[in-house]
């Protein structure tokens, strides 16, 4: 399944705190590939502003979380307004800050589901360069 925003209504986030521009691939409940284009002016978003003109590193994890949320909530589409929250982040490493003009590719893959908990492994890449990796647990209410 692919699309250019058909599923964004499943996320409560709105600009400037929406860090996904496009959904490239989506297998509801299982996997998502999404794209974030980094633009000037985003360096001051978040608690830890970027020293340059890029996206603060903490927001790579936020973008990964938003992508995984979409993958989880899209599995329950049509069952009323979805809501949830992140329960844990494990072994997250961010290797560098994405700069203005770069495209951040996010791939989140379900590792396991236990009840309403969805554990994802995620990668953030710029081209072939890995810039972030980690595991996130999303709790769907």
């Amino acid at each position: 399944m692919s699309g250019q925003g058909f599923f964004f209504h499943l996320l409560p986030h709105r600009p400037p705190f929406l860090f996904l521009d496009r959904i490239i691939e989506l297998e509801p409940g299982k996997e998502i590939v999404a794209l974030k284009r980094v633009s000037a002016g985003e360096e001051m978003v978040g608690h830890f502003p970027s020293p340059g003109d890029g996206l603060p590193v903490s927001l790579i994890a936020e973008a990964m979380a938003q992508a995984a949320s979409l993958a989880a909530t899209s599995a329950r589409e049509g069952e009323g307004p979805p809501s949830g929250a992140y329960a844990s982040i494990k072994e997250m490493q961010i290797l560098r800050e994405p700069r203005s003009g770069e495209e951040l590719w996010l791939r989140m893959k379900l590792l396991r589901q236990y009840g309403r908990l969805f554990e994802f492994h995620g990668e953030a890449k710029i081209g072939e360069e890995l810039v972030g990796e980690g595991e996130l647990v999303f709790h769907l209410y």
Binding site: A87, R112, Y114, L117
Partner: protein, 87 residues
């Protein structure tokens, strides 16, 4: 030390280590519920135990219904591991 005792100690060690509990194995009542009033674990802890059992014992807890039974107590979890180990 019998196999049953060894397994109970291994399970208690897994629970303490995986969930970073600041208690000793002797403080875990083997018959008490792991969740709620017993050890006070929650659903995130359950997921961590599911991962731990997979990685350390090669045993899967496929869903919450099975989890409710397996995680009823240390004793119940040992029985579940014994029944499913090597399958």
């Amino acid at each position: 030390m019998g196999d049953d005792r060894i397994l109970r100690d291994q399970i208690k060690d897994l629970i303490i280590r995986r969930l970073r509990l600041e208690i000793s194995p002797a403080e875990i009542d083997e018959g008490a519920p792991l969740f709620g009033d017993g050890l006070g674990l929650d659903s995130i802890d359950a997921l961590e135990l599911v991962v731990g059992l997979e990685q350390e014992f090669g045993i899967s807890i496929p869903d919450e219904d099975v989890g409710k039974e397996a995680f009823a107590s240390v004793e119940a979890l040992c029985n579940y591991v014994e029944q499913h180990r090597g399958k």
